[in-house]
């Protein structure tokens, strides 16, 4: 990196102020419309993918928890899907779902499914069997047991799975560049093609920032939703 900087600096030696090729506020100001569009595309894709994945994986995890016979097939199917590389998945989907948002969204949801389902299921299973027994003895139906005892107990695990999923989804959106809909990946790729380092660096830092902000937000929400965990009663650290 250092040698790259010095080389460019010597190229630009005729300018009075050799600009840093990696960081440029000038770039950010000039192409802010582009950057903000890529940023909003990135964020909206992430939010949508995580929401859709959550809508699918909660019922899946409940199913696998209630009828344990279903757990191995559910987990192994999602694991096999997860093994397929993102580039291949987008490429497999593209001829049928077209170039653009749908393809990227389906791919993201598939990857988020495995992380979320496994996390939720792990959380549900971590319920103390004696607590579940006590609830059953008090006359809780299986559904009430799930919703009022096991799910609240699983919340810390659910939130850590959500955070993991969101962060990896943010990173994965960039691969959508192969079908022309990669959010910040679009800037990354364009900057690389044009050998414009400031664009590459800006896109990278923005992607990191999106991931960190999303992680922080979910962490705060998780703390608010599980007030009992804060007092150290459950001694649960995500």
């Amino acid at each position: 990196m250092a040698c790259g900087c010095s080389r460019v600096a010597s190229e630009d030696v005729r300018d009075d102020l050799p600009p840093n090729p990696w960081f440029s506020t000038d770039y950010l100001v000039r192409s802010w419309p582009d950057v903000s569009q890529a940023l909003s595309q990135h964020v909206s894709l992430t939010v949508q993918a995580v929401l859709v994945a959550a809508a699918i994986s909660f019922p899946l995890a409940f199913l696998a928890h209630r009828w344990p016979r279903w757990a191995p097939p559910v987990l192994s199917t999602t694991a096999v899907l997860y093994t397929v590389p993102s580039l291949a998945l987008f490429a497999l989907l593209a001829p049928w779902t077209g170039i653009g948002r749908t393809t990227v969204l389906i791919g993201l949801v598939v990857y988020a499914l495995m992380l979320l389902t496994r996390g939720i299921l792990t959380g549900l299973r971590a319920t103390d069997p004696e607590v579940a027994d006590a609830a059953r003895g008090m006359g809780y139906s299986p559904t009430a047991l799930l919703l009022r005892v096991e799910l609240p107990q699983a919340l810390p695990a659910v939130f850590s799975a959500l955070r993991l999923t969101t962060v990896s989804t943010v990173a994965l959106v960039t691969v959508g560049v192969v079908v022309g809909y990669g959010g910040l990946g679009q800037l990354l790729f364009r900057g690389l093609r044009a050998n414009y380092r400031a664009e590459v660096m800006t896109a990278t830092l923005l992607a990191l920032a999106v991931a960190l902000v999303a992680d922080l937000l979910l962490a705060v929400v998780g703390r608010l939703v599980t007030p009992w965990a804060r007092r150290g009663v459950g001694a649960w650290t995500s």
Binding site: V84, L87, A88, A91, L188, R197, L208
Partner: protein, 263 residues
């Protein structure tokens, strides 16, 4: 359907398999790059993880490292390396090694942390030196978890290498990227099938290898663990043995009590 026929036609053309950018050459490059990246990550991650795990710390560090690298898009790292002048296989190997590091690290740390402290004490009591304890007691016990980490890392690397095609690296991903570039969707699908098949095959092979490497006595325990679906993050080591032992002791107590009046 048309695309599928096209894909199979592409796969059936012998000209696509041979030559410097044929499937065989690209597949070989793919495997070679994956092996190099995994080896590089193992050379750095395993000793560090073993050292940290033996000292009973490093879990927070491992989590922090893996969280940061997860937030950094692979494509971004590849683009950064390419933009700073490192193209081709070197950049791919470096980038993939960076992403393979966290699973290796956490596998080694978790594996050694999970060794029962009483077993460690017993080994010390039996007069084993520090190195002897590590190689003859702790490593064999930690091996399944370490192997699982290596396997995760390797599969992840094989799945990440295709992305390098976007920045000019040679791998099976090249078939896909070229297909997109020339809008030949048959080739795109064919390349995707090849990449997916390679990844699933490697995953299967490594699963078999891990099974073969695990001593038979540990296999049942391993299956027990996997049915609980990855509890390694909650460190079951401290919890389970104490939960089991009192139960045994209680049963013995009952036995002796019922025996005493009888005898």
């Amino acid at each position: 359907m048309d695309v599928l026929t096209e894909a199979f036609r592409w796969l059936n053309d012998p000209l696509n398999w041979t030559g410097p950018s044929g499937v065989l050459a690209l597949g070989w490059a793919h495997v070679w790059i994956s092996v190099a990246a995994t080896a590089l990550a193992a050379a750095v991650g395993l000793p560090a993880g073993i050292w940290l795990g033996r000292r009973g710390r490093g879990q927070t560090l491992g989590v922090a490292v893996s969280n940061t690298t997860r937030a950094l898009p692979t494509l971004a790292l590849l683009a950064l390396l390419a933009a700073s002048g490192t193209f081709g296989s070197t950049a791919t190997i470096l980038a993939c090694a960076v992403f393979a590091l966290p699973p290796m690290l956490s596998g080694a740390v978790d594996g050694l942390n999970a060794v029962d402290p009483q077993v460690r004490d017993a080994a010390r009591g039996a007069g084993l030196s520090s190195a002897g304890r590590l190689w003859r007691v702790e490593m064999p016990l930690a091996l399944p978890v370490i192997a699982a980490g290596v396997r995760t890392a390797a599969v992840q690397v094989v799945a990440t290498v295709p992305l390098a095609a976007l920045v000019g690296g040679h791998s099976l991903g090249t078939v896909v990227v070229t297909g997109f570039g020339t809008q030949r969707y048959g080739q795109v699908v064919a390349g995707a099938l090849l990449v997916a098949a390679l990844c699933l095959a490697i995953e299967g092979l490594l699963a078999l290898a891990q099974r073969a490497l695990t001593p038979r006595g540990l296999r049942a325990r391993d299956r027990d663990k996997s049915s609980h679906s990855k509890p390694s993050d909650d460190s079951p080591s401290g919890r389970r043995p104490p939960a089991r032992r009192p139960r045994v002791r209680v049963r013995r107590l009952h036995d002796s009590q019922t025996e005493v009046p009888a005898g």
